[in-house]
Amino acid sequence: MIPVYCVNATDNRVMTIDDAAVDTDDGTPFEASVTSVAFEAGAWSGFRRFMQTVHLNGTATVIVTPITDDAPDESQTLPYVLSVSTDGSFVRQRWAFASHGSRHQVLVRIPAHSGLTELGEWGRHLVPRRSERGGP
């Protein structure tokens, strides 16, 4: 992969970015993240589980925070430090939540990693409840 160069505005350096040779930004870990668009079960529902497949050849800290009705629920934030699985290919990690609302999102953050770290398929488990806020 060819490097992308950053032509610095505040010093005399040209820096690489997305440089596979290093896992930090000039020595400082950077955070990668994905926030899903909202999903729902058509009414009031419980967000019970979230699964994310992580392909990696080193280690990665993966933190998932549920977002319910546009409000992140930091109390249910769960970090996992993942490392290469026994078969060397991927780790399928599950997070259990107890969020209830109409619209759910997940914020997947990777604040630190080493080596190649990729997010593959994901899944979630919603349990619809009797409507307390009206149905669709």
Binding site: P3, Y5, V14, I17, A21
Partner: protein, 758 residues
């Protein structure tokens, strides 16, 4: 309460960004677009992989820290651009001097090829440089709005030589100060300047076909056109699809046609209708990639195929509100990631701090990268894909102690561990020839098929993607010196004549020595190979064995292999018969008995008899003569009764003359069986007596139970109590000598049985 049968579990990968989309399940539609599963509301520092996963992007590190011509660090970097002749052109600025510096690098930025201050640009505020390449030169312009503060157009060649470009626009030669610059159909297009150095924001000029734009006759004064409204700046000009796209802040135009070597304007200009207010704010705000121009202007990111306009901001409306300073925005093409990089200033920043990634295949924004430092430009340098090795190898060095007569073992410090390394050898033909190519990461090598006593020049270079480094400095490899040939002949009862032939190179010295007495018999300096010398030793005595050495020395050779020698042994006899002793006797312990030892040896001549001299336990020596050709014998003597040390030495004889003796060598007979008896016993006890002729350690066991192991002695007894009346017992006794050979330091076992009285 749970509604049975209504729970969901959906799996998908992550895809593009669509901010503030309605929920994907119950409300699948956003406008009239079906929103796919896995859509993201936002994403940071990720990149889509070829197998549609989302990977955390790689990190950042310094590729170049640029200095001005005097060696002072610059304070901001302004732009970077691909340059076909070298790789990359980079322009920086130093606040203290208010001067600009230009550097040319290899495509991977690993090698600085040229660096000069731009002397044609007087001290002033930082420029807004951008460049276009024509006829193997880069043309560097300054997109500063006010023409009075704008720097002059400069051409740069592959060596960094710069020419300040001037042209006659109708009123004599004047400095060209274009706002934008582009190359289309082998002509240089400039905008923003009218005759007399006047600002003409909408005016475009093109160079004369076939004339270098920095040479005389470069621009025809009538080769100009005004595009759109006269007061509105042409902000960017980017070629593609056989047209030159000309952008203003809210308009796009196409210039098409082919230049002719005629005076006047040679092209056709047509506007793109219904541009939807797209355009560019600055020259780096548009790029062309794979059939589309991508740009950013006040309405957001957009793309066009030159006819239709498509605004791309709609999925990013929330984030777009955070984008500021569009005059600093850059749009770049990354051909390997298949991305368009929108470098944007967001929030309160004043320089580019974010890159929006637009996936050209998925036609979606897929992630934003947060830059490690504020930037004035971002650039994906495509040549990196075929870059050569990062650096040349170090000078080859050699492990001299591993050299042989025909091989040398060397190593080289790799300049690039991801590049194979070639080893070239001059086999003294005056021409270096490729000897071998070391695989990735391998730094050691062996060169074979060489000639002894020879020095070989060796050098190395790295190769990667078909590109080579320069050669390393030349290292020197040395094969071992060939030892001389030495023959020793007894020519009289007191004379040995030695013939020595030099085998090593012409500049080697040679000496002949004798170890007995430490004599140096002769030395020869710089004796050429093939030279034969005769040396006489008259200090010999009959009956002695002499060891002669011929040694070649070359002081120019590495210390580990500076000498080579050959050894010849000669026994001097009364008649001058050249008789050598046999090899020293070797004892075969497995064939020793209590009354004999077994020896083997190699006669110096199978026609000779061998006299065996032996001594048992230091007693008087006796001899026995073996027949010619015999190479093994049992040496037996009545004095050997077991547990004996037997010293043996040998010499050859023809019945009259004798060679010198070998050294004494000591062997051992088998340890004799000890004696055991039970001289007295009771109902529950026994006294066991142990005897041997030679001091041994007694190891006494009842059955397999160890009762005692005594220190070395010839007699001992043991009182064994606690026995049972009327019961039989068996005692086993072994003799042991720790100083005997390991394979024969135990005797056999002798046993006696008892039956306890009742």
């Amino acid at each position: 309460m749970r509604l049975h049968g209504s729970e969901e579990s959906v799996r998908a990968g992550w895809s593009g960004i669509y901010e503030d989309a309605e929920p994907t399940d119950a409300y699948r539609k956003v406008g009239f677009t079906l929103v796919p599963m896995g859509l993201m509301d936002s994403s940071a520092n990720m990149v889509r992989t070829a197998n549609s996963r989302f990977a955390v992007r790689g990190g950042s590190q310094t590729a170049v820290a640029m200095l001005d011509e005097s060696g002072s660090a610059l304070t901001q970097m302004l732009t970077m651009q691909r340059y076909s002749q070298d790789g990359a052109l980079v322009v920086g600025y130093r606040d203290a001097t208010q001067r600009h510096t230009l550097a040319l690098y290899s495509a991977d930025l690993a090698t600085e090829l040229a660096r000069h201050d731009i002397t044609a640009w007087p001290a002033g505020p930082a420029a807004v440089p951008h460049a276009a390449e024509l006829f193997e030169k880069m043309y560097l312009a300054d997109a500063t709005r006010q023409i009075g503060a704008r720097q002059q157009l400069v051409s740069v060649d592959a060596t960094g030589t710069m020419v300040a470009v001037a042209a006659d626009l109708g009123n004599g030669s004047e400095a060209l100060k274009p706002y934008t610059v582009a190359v289309y159909n082998n002509t240089l297009f400039i905008s923003g300047q009218d005759v007399g150095g006047l600002s003409a924001p909408a005016m475009v000029r093109h160079s004369f076909l076939g004339v270098s734009p920095d040479a005389a006759g470069n621009f025809d004064s009538n080769a100009y056109e005004t595009v759109g409204a006269a007061g509105e700046y042409i902000t960017a000009m980017i070629p593609g699809r056989n047209v030159l796209l000309v952008a203003k802040e809210n308009e796009l135009y196409r210039i098409s046609g082919f230049g002719r070597a005629l005076a006047g304007w040679q092209f056709v200009t047509t506007p793109i209708e219904n541009t939807d207010y797209v355009g560019a704010i600055a020259p780096k705000g548009i790029c062309f990639a794979e059939g589309y121009w991508y740009g950013v202007s006040g309405v957001g990111p957009w793309r066009t195929d030159g006819i239709n306009i498509e605004v791309l901001v709609r999925s990013r409306l929330r984030s777009w509100r955070q984008v500021t300073h569009l005059e600093r925005a850059v749009v770049r093409y990354d051909p390997t990631r298949r991305l368009i990089l929108f470098g944007l200033v967001t929030g309160s920043a004043t320089a580019i701090n974010t890159i929006w990634l637009y996936d050209m295949d998925a036609e979606q924004f897929i992630s934003d990268w947060t830059l490690p430092a504020p930037a004035n430009d971002v650039y994906a340098l495509a040549q990196q894909g075929v870059i050569g090795p990062a650096a040349k190898p170090g000078v080859p060095t050699f492990q001299d102690d591993l050299a042989t007569l025909t091989t040398v073992a060397g190593s080289v410090t790799l300049g690039d561990t991801s590049a194979p390394t070639e080893i070239w050898v001059d086999r003294n033909t005056g021409v270096f020839v490729l000897d071998q190519t070391l695989p990735l990461g391998v730094s050691t090598f062996t060169i074979q098929g060489l000639v002894n006593s020879t020095q070989y020049p060796v050098k190395a270079r790295a190769v990667k993607n078909g590109q080579y480094t320069t050669f390393s400095a030349v290292g020197k490899a040395y094969t071992k010196l060939a030892p001389p040939i030495l023959q020793a002949v007894q020519t009289a009862s007191d004379t040995v004549t030695l013939t020595v032939e030099q085998q090593a190179g012409a500049d080697s010295d040679l000496s002949v020595t004798r170890s007995e007495g430490g004599l140096t018999l002769a030395t020869f300096t710089t004796l050429p190979a093939g030279s034969i010398e005769t040396v006489t030793d008259t200090q010999v005595s009959v009956g002695n064995l002499y060891h002669y050495f011929a040694t070649t020395t070359n002081a120019a050779w590495p210390a580990a292999i500076q000498t080579a020698f050959v050894e010849v042994a000669l026994g001097v006899t009364t008649t001058g018969v050249n008789m050598l002793p046999p090899s020293a006797p070797a004892f075969v312990d497995a064939q020793a008995t209590t009354g004999s030892v077994h020896i083997t040896f190699t006669p110096s001549d199978n026609s000779l008899q061998t006299e065996v001299a032996y001594s048992v336990d230091g007693g008087a020596a006796a001899t026995v003569t073996l027949a010619a050709g015999v190479a093994a014998a049992d040496v037996a003597d009545a004095a050997m009764k077991g547990t004996n040390r037997v010293s043996v030495r040998l010499r050859q004889t023809d019945g009259t003359n004798f060679s010198a003796y070998t050294e004494w060598v000591v062997g051992h007979t088998v340890i004799a069986l000890p004696r055991i008896s039970v001289p007295s016993s009771g109902a529950d006890w026994n006294v066991i007596a142990m005897d041997a002729d030679i001091e041994v350690e007694f190891i006494l066991k009842r059955g397999t139970t160890l009762l005692v192991q005594t220190p070395g002695t010839t007699h001992s007894s043991y009182y064994d109590s606690g026995l049972t009346a009327g019961k039989p017992y068996s005692y086993n006794l072994t003799a042991y000598r720790a100083d005997w050979p390991a394979d024969m330091n135990y005797s056999g076992v002798v046993t006696t049985n008892t039956l306890q009285p009742t």
